[in-house]
Symmetry: C3
Subunit: 319 residues, 3 copies
C-alpha cells in the first residue's frame, strides 16, 4: 500500500473491537474452542486423503513412472508417511472427544489411536481389492467411459466412493470427526454426499453424481448403480433426539439400479434384489425383487409459443 493510500486507513483504531471480539469468544459456547487441546486439522485430513490416494493408486497420482524394482522401497516410505499422518489426526480427534465429554486425563487415548491406526493400515490391501471392483462396475456401467484409467483419473463418483470407503473404515472404529471431514471434502468436490456410516458393498457405481445423498443408516448391496440427484434418505426429521441412532434410511439389495433424481426414503424401505427405480420416482414403500418401478409422469401441456407472444393452447396426453 502506498503512503498516500495508507493515510486513509492508518488511523483506524481496532482496540475497541478487540475487546468486543474477546468477549464474543468467551461468551458463545457453541463457537468456543479456547483453552482446549488440539483438534484434528481439516487441512491435514485433506492432505492425508491425497497421500492415501497416492498409496492406493500408485502411478496414477503422486510419483510417476514407478518401476517394479523400486516398488518395495517406495511403498514402505508411503506407508510410514500415511501411518504417521493418520495417527496424528486420529489421536487429536480422540483426545478432543474425550475432553469434550469431561475426561481430561485421557489415559488410553494414545494407545487407542495407535491401535485404530494399525487396524486401518492393515485393511489397505482389502480396501484396494474392493475399490478395484468399483472401477470395474464404473467401466461396465457407463458407455461414455473410454478406459478404466479415465475412471480412476477423473470420475467424481469413483473419487467419492474412494473417500467414503476410507472414511467408513475409521467410522467403524468410532473415530470422531475425521470420517465426516473426509466425506464432506468429497462432497465439496463432487456434490456426492455419502455419510461415512452408510454400509456399501462391492461393485458400487455412481454416475455423474451431483446431488446424490446417501444417509447414515443406508444398507447397500453388491452391483448397485445410482445416478445424479438420487436421495437415499429419511422420511422425516421431527423428534431429532429420538432419531439419533435409529435406522432412518433405506436398504438397497444387490443389482439394483436407481435412475436420476429418484428419492427412496425411510428406514423400513427395502428395494429388492435386481429391481430398477426409474428417474424422478419418489418412493417410501418397499419394492419386490426384480421389479421395475416407474412413475406415471404427469400430463405434459404443449402451448404454441410464437416468439414473444402466446396464442394457442392445447393439451395432449403423454404415452
Amino acid at each position: 500500500m502506498s503512503s498516500a493510500e495508507s493515510q486513509v486507513t492508518q488511523g483506524i483504531d481496532l482496540s475497541g473491537l478487540v475487546g468486543a471480539m474477546v468477549e464474543s469468544y468467551q461468551s458463545l459456547a457453541r463457537l468456543k474452542h479456547i483453552d482446549a487441546g488440539h483438534l484434528p486439522s481439516r487441512d491435514k485430513v485433506i492432505e492425508l486423503i491425497r497421500e492415501l490416494r497416492h498409496l492406493i493408486y500408485p502411478g496414477f497420482f503422486g510419483r510417476q513412472n514407478l518401476k517394479t524394482h523400486e516398488l518395495e522401497k517406495h511403498v514402505g516410505e508411503m506407508l510410514k508417511d500415511v501411518h504417521d499422518r493418520l495417527y496424528d489426526q486420529v489421536r487429536s480427534a480422540i483426545r478432543h472427544h474425550q475432553q469434550r465429554t469431561g475426561d481430561n486425563t485421557c489415559a488410553d487415548c494414545d494407545v487407542t489411536a495407535a491401535a485404530v491406526t494399525a487396524e486401518f493400515m492393515g485393511r489397505l490391501p482389502e480396501l484396494r481389492r474392493v475399490l478395484a471392483t468399483d472401477v470395474e462396475a464404473a467401466f461396465d456401467g457407463d458407455p461414455a467411459a473410454g478406459s478404466t484409467d479415465e475412471i480412476i483419473f477423473s470420475y467424481p463418483g469413483f473419487f467419492a466412493i474412494t473417500v467414503y470407503r476410507i472414511a467408513h473404515e475409521l467410522h467403524v472404529q468410532k473415530v470422531p470427526l475425521i470420517p465426516r471431514i473426509m466425506t464432506e471434502y468429497a462432497h465439496n468436490l463432487t456434490g456426492i454426499d455419502i455419510h461415512p456410516g452408510a454400509t456399501i458393498d462391492e461393485f458400487f457405481f455412481i454416475d455423474h453424481g451431483t446431488g446424490v445423498v446417501i444417509g447414515e443408516t443406508c444398507l447397500i448391496g453388491k452391483h448397485v448403480k445410482i445416478y445424479q440427484g438420487v436421495t437415499l434418505g429419511a422420511t422425516s426429521t421431527r423428534d431429532v433426539e429420538q432419531l439419533r441412532g435409529a435406522k432412518r434410511h433405506p436398504t438397497i439389495e444387490d443389482e439394483v439400479t436407481i435412475y436420476p433424481n429418484a428419492s427412496v426414503l425411510g428406514g423400513g424401505t427395502v428395494i429388492g434384489r435386481g429391481a430398477t427405480v426409474n428417474g424422478n420416482v419418489f418412493i417410501t414403500q418397499s419394492v419386490p425383487p426384480h421389479t421395475r418401478v416407474s412413475v406415471k409422469h404427469p400430463e405434459i401441456i404443449y402451448r404454441n409459443r410464437p416468439p414473444r407472444e402466446f396464442t394457442q393452447d392445447y393439451s395432449v396426453g403423454r404415452t
Copy 2:
C-alpha cells in the same frame, strides 16, 4: 524436456498467433480489461474468507491450541490483517466500478472503502452471535450430527451460510463484485447458491445442500430449515431488464421447513409461519401459516423385471 523431444516443437512459430491474440484482446469489448486499473483478485478474496473463518471460529481453524491469556494479542493481529486485506479488495472493487461508469478521478473511493471496511469490521461480534444461532439450528435439526464441533468443521450448509452472512454485510453496503465472488466460492465448494442480496434471519439450517438455490430478493425468517435441491426462485426471466431490482423470489416466514427438491417460486409467494413444504413440491402460490403442503405423488407403476427381460406389467395405486 529432453533435446530429442524439444526438436519436435522448437520450430514452432507463435508470432502470427501473437498478432491475432492482441487483435482479439482489443476487439472484444465484453472480455476486455486492458489499460484498466486494478480489479479485485478472486484468489485474494478467497484468502480473505479463510482469514475471516479463522477470526470467527478461533481454535477450529487456523492457529491451534489457543489460550485465554494470549487471546487479546492474537485477536488484535488477526483483526488488523483481515481489515487490511478487506480494505484492499473493497478499494479495488469500488475504484473499478467507478472507472467502468466513467468516473476516472474516483475522488472519494479510498474514503468510501475505508468507511465500508470499518463498518464491516465493527459488525463482526454481531455476525458471530448470529452464526452461533445457525450452529444451534443445525445441531437441533440433524439427527446425524455427532456434535456442534462436527458442524463447524465439516457441514457444507454451515460453511455456505457463514460465507453468505459475510457477503451480505458487504452487499448491504453496495460493494461491487466481491459479495458475489464470495458466495460463488461457497457455491463452488458446497453446491449451495445463495445470492448475497437475499435476506436471511437467525437459526437458519441447510442440510446436505447440494443444488440449493436462494435468489437475490428472497426474504427468509427465523428457524427456517431447508434441504438439498430446494429452489427459492423466480417464475420467469423474460424481460430481463424490467426485472432487474424487482422482488422476484419468495418470502419464507419463521419456522418453515422445506424438504428436498421442492421449488418455491415467485416474488409474491409467501410461505406462512410454521408451514412445511414436503419433498418435490412445486409451488408458485402462497401457503397459509401452519399448513403442511405435500404433492399427490404420481401413480407408481410396477413391472416384473426378471434379469434382462420383461414379462408382466401391473399398476398399483400409491397411498
Copy 3:
C-alpha cells in the same frame, strides 16, 4: 511428535504390510500402473486450465493492470508457456494411450502431439470470439447480473462453459484422457457436468447450474439457456457396449430455454427452435418449434399443521 508420544507408535512394524501392498499392486489389473510410462498429471492439467484462463481473459485473472504497450510481449510469453504445458500433457496422454493399446514404439506420438497442440493454439482467437458471445448471453439472460465483469469473475456456468470449450477442442482432435480431466475439474467446482464430446453452439448460458448434466452426444444450437438441475441425458444404459458411440442424448435447437430440474432424454429427442421446456418437465419425445412444454403439476394437498400436531386434512386443486 514428542518422544513420549512416539513411544506408542515407534514399535509399529509395517514390513508385513509392505509385502501385502506390493502383491496388491501387482495383482489388481484395473488399478495397476507400474512399469508404465508417464501419464498426464491431473494437477498439471488443472494448472494448464488456470494459465489458459489468464490467456483468454487477460486483466481479469493472472497479471493485473496490463497496458496496451506491453501486451504483445506479455501475450508472447503466455502463448509460449501454455503451448509447452499443453504439448507436454498431450504427448503423455497419446503415448500412454498407445502403450495401453500395445504400441510401445509410438513412432508418431511426438509429431502428433505437436500437431494437435499447434492446431489448438491456432484456434484460441476463435475460442475467445465464441466465449464473448457466452458472456453476452449470460448478461442478457440474468436479471441479477450486475455487470459482464461479474459474470467473467464469478459465474459458475460461464466457468464451466469456458472449460468445456477448451476441452471440446482437444476432444475433437481425439486427445485421450485430458478433455475429461478438464471437464470433470469444472464439474468439481461448479456441479455442472458437460461431457467434452457434446457439441454446443454460440451464446450458451447456464444459470446457477448445480446438477446440470449434458451428455456426450448432445447437439445444442445457438442462444440456448438452461438452468440448475437440467439433465440432457440418455433413456437407458442397458447394453453398454452396444451404446458406446451411438447418439444417446437429445438435440436442442436454437433459442430454446429449459427451466430448472427438467429432464430431456434420448438420442432421437429434438427440442425444436424457440421452444421452452418448463421446470420439472420429464420428456423423452420431440417438441415442435415455438412450443412451450409444461407439466400438469400434481395436485397439491394442504393440511392444517398446528405446531407439533396434525388435526385436519383438506385437499384443493391447483391451478
